[in-house]
C-alpha cells in the first residue's frame, strides 16, 4: 500500500483516536499521577507524597474499609436475591405465561428510572412516620416491626440494598430471558422423551447451557452494585453514621467534601483494582465451570 493511502486511512481514524485519547486515556493516566500527590483541586501547587495516600488508606482509613464492606454486603444480596428473582421471572416468561410481553415491559421499567428518583420514592415508602411500608405493617398487625427504616442502623444498609435490587433485577431478567430463549427447544424435548422431571431438565439442560449467561449477569451485577451511588445519595447520604457509606460516596466526599483530590484518586485506584480482581476471579470461576464435564 502506498504511503499516501496509509496516511489517508490513519486520517480517517484520527478523530476517534483523538477523542479516545483525550477523554479516556488522558484522564485514566491523570488519576494515577494525581494519586501520588497532595492536591486540593484548585491550587497550582501540588506536593509529591509518593505512596503515602495508599499507605494511609491501608493503615488508617477505617471508614474506607467499612464502605468497601458495605458495598460487598449489598453485592452479595444482589448476586443472590436479585439474580434468583430475575431468573425465576425469566423462567416464567420463557414458559410463555399469559401476558408475558406485558411483564417484560413492567420488569424492565425500574432499571430505566433515574436512581435519584427511585431513591426519593423509596424514601417515602420507608418513611418512619408516614411511609407506606409502616402503614402496611400496621394494617396486618405487625406494629412491632415498624421503624424508621433508613435511619435505623440495623436496617439502613439492607433497606438500601432492597432498593438497589428492585431497581436492578430487570437487567438480569432481560439478559437471562434472552439466554433462555437461545437454548434449542429440541434439548428440552429430548430430555422429556427420556423421562426427565422438571427439576432434572432445569439442572441438566438449562443450567449448563446458561453458564456463560450466568457469568455475564454475575459480572455485571458485581460491577454495577459495587459502584452503587445515586440511591445512597438520595436516601441516606451514607448515614446514619457510616452505616450506608460505599466506596463511591467516600471518593466523592474525599474529593468535594474535604478537597483531597490526590487522596480521592488513590481511593479510586484501590477501588478499581478491587473490582478488577473480583472480575478476574469471576471469569476464572466461569472458565472452570465451562470446562467441567
Amino acid at each position: 500500500m502506498r504511503f499516501k493511502d496509509q496516511l489517508e486511512n490513519y486520517l480517517f481514524v484520527l478523530p476517534a483516536i483523538i477523542l479516545f485519547a483525550v477523554f479516556s486515556i488522558y484522564p485514566f493516566l491523570k488519576v494515577f499521577q494525581l494519586s501520588v500527590y497532595e492536591w486540593d483541586g484548585i491550587s497550582s501547587m501540588m506536593r509529591f507524597v509518593g505512596l503515602a495516600n495508599f499507605w494511609d488508606i491501608f493503615r488508617h482509613n477505617g471508614v474506607w474499609w467499612t464502605s468497601v464492606w458495605n458495598a460487598i454486603y449489598i453485592t452479595l444480596l444482589a448476586l443472590t436475591f436479585q439474580n434468583i428473582l430475575a431468573l425465576l421471572l425469566a423462567l416464567a416468561c420463557d414458559k410463555g405465561i399469559r401476558g408475558g410481553h406485558v411483564y417484560r415491559v413492567i420488569f424492565y421499567l425500574p432499571p430505566v428510572l433515574s436512581g435519584i428518583v427511585v431513591g426519593l420514592i423509596w424514601s417515602w415508602i420507608y418513611d418512619g412516620n408516614y411511609g407506606l411500608l409502616n402503614h402496611w405493617l400496621k394494617a396486618i398487625g405487625l406494629d412491632s416491626l415498624t421503624r424508621s427504616w433508613l435511619s435505623d442502623p440495623k436496617t439502613a444498609l439492607t433497606s438500601v440494598a432492597v432498593i438497589h435490587m428492585w431497581k436492578g433485577f430487570g437487567w438480569g431478567f432481560v439478559i437471562l430471558l434472552a439466554g433462555l430463549q437461545n437454548i434449542p427447544r429440541e434439548l428440552y424435548e429430548a430430555a422429556r422423551v427420556d423421562g426427565a422431571s422438571g427439576w432434572q431438565v432445569f439442572k441438566e439442560v438449562t443450567v449448563p447451557m446458561m453458564i456463560p449467561v450466568f457469568i455475564l449477569v454475575a459480572i455485571l451485577t458485581v460491577l454495577g452494585t459495587m459502584q452503587i451511588f445515586d440511591i445512597i445519595i438520595s436516601t441516606t447520604g451514607g448515614g446514619p453514621g457510616y452505616h450506608t457509606e460505599v466506596p463511591v460516596t467516600r471518593i466523592l466526599s474525599t474529593m468535594t467534601g474535604t478537597s483531597q483530590f490526590g487522596y480521592a484518586c488513590a481511593e479510586g485506584i484501590m477501588f478499581g483494582i478491587l473490582l478488577l480482581l473480583v472480575s478476574l476471579f469471576q471469569m476464572r470461576i466461569g472458565k472452570t465451570f465451562r470446562q467441567a464435564p
Partner: protein
Amino acid sequence: MTHRKKPWILGVCLAVALAGCAQKQNASQLTIWHWMSDREDVFQELANRYHASTGVSVRFQLFAPSDAYSQKVKAAAQTSTLPDIFGILGEKRDFASFILSGHVANLAAEVDAGEGSWRKVLFEKPLLMNEFMAGNSYGVGVGTYGIPIDVMNIQFVYNKELFRQAGLDPGKPPATWKEFLSASAKLKEKGIQGLVSGWGEIWMIECLASNFASNIMGEEKVLATLRGKVPYTDSDWIRVLKFFQEMREQGVLADGVVTMINKRAEQLFANGQAAFAMNGSWCVNVYHGMNPNLDYGVMLPPRVSNAYPQVIWGGAGSSLMVNEKSSRKKQAIDFLQWLTAKDQQVYLAAQTRNLPSNREALVDLHPILAEFANGMDRAVHPSLLPLAEFPLVTEAFTKGIQSILIGEKTPEEVAEEVQALKERELQKQSARNKQS
C-alpha cells in the same frame, strides 16, 4: 472530487469543527456564573435594568446543582477560563486556594474607598467572611476578596398552631434548654413530633453543635481546640455531645431526622408534621411555596448556658468574586457595587424572600424574614475564625453525633475517636511543615 483531495478536505472539516467548539466571547459583555436556580429570572431582570442604565450588558449563566457548579469553577480555574464574576462554594480553605492561585481580585481598595461607603452599607459579618486578616492561617494577603449579595442565619422556627394544640403559648417560645425539653414533652404527649431538620446533611448538625459549643465555652476555647490545645475529650465538648444524647433519650427529634435531607425536613414542618425546625432564613421562601398559610414564628436555638453569649450560625448567603485575570475587572466591580446598592437589594429581597446584604434594604421585609434579620448581630460562622478545623475531624465529629443520635455510641466514645483523629491530623500537619 478526486480521491487525492479527500484527506485534505477531511482535515479542513476537522479544524473547522474544533474551532467551532471555542466559546464566543463578547468583549463588552460581563459574564457571571452562579448556581442559584431559584433566582435566574430575578438576575435576568437586574441584568436588563443594568444594561438600560449603563449600557453594559451582563450575562448571568446558571450551572446547577451546586455540586456541579463547584466542579465547573474548579475546572475553569485550572484552565484559566473563569468568567468576570463568579461565586466560590465550599470551605474557607477552598476560597483561600483560589486567591493564592491568583484567580480572585482583592476589592479592599474599592470597599474602603470614600471613607468606606460601600463597606458601611453591607452587613459586617457576611463581608468579614470574604476577608482575610493579618496572620491568617491560610497565608492569604490581607484583603476583601468577595462581596455578599445576600445573607442568612440559621435559627429555630416553631409551628404556632401545634403549640396551641399542645397548650403552649405561641407568643412565648422556649428560650432555654430546659424550656425546650419541657415544651417538646408536652408536644409529644399530644402525639406531635418535636424537632425536624436536615441532619442527613451533616453540616446542619455542625451548626447546632457549634451554637452549643460557643454558648458553653466561648470562642477562645473553641479556637484553642482548633489549635490542638484543648482536646475534644474535654468536659465541655462532652457536654456539647450530651445535648444530642439528651434529645434522643427525651424523644425530642422527629423520626428519621438523622438521615433526612433538609428538603424533606422542610416539607414535614410546612405540612404541620413537626413543631420545631432548625433551618436557615431561606426557609421563608421555601415554606411560602409549600404552605402559604403556615402559621409559624422564629426563635433562637435554646440557650444551654449563661456562661457565654448565645450565638447562631450565619453570615453570607451567597457571595460573588471578581476574576483577577479578567480584562473587565473595573466593570465587574462597578456591577457588584450596583448589585449591592439599596434599590437592587430591596428588589432581590422582595423577589427571593432572602435577607439582603445591604443593611439599608431591610425595608418592607416579610415579617418572619424581619425576625431572622434581628438575629444577624449574633451570627457567627467558622469562616470568621482565623483558623479552621481539619475537614476529616469535622466529618468525624458530625458523623459521631449521628452515631449518638441513633444510640450507637456514647458522647465519650465519640469524643475519644474525634480526638484520636485530631492528633493524627496534627502529626501529619507537623510532618508537612517540617518537610516544607
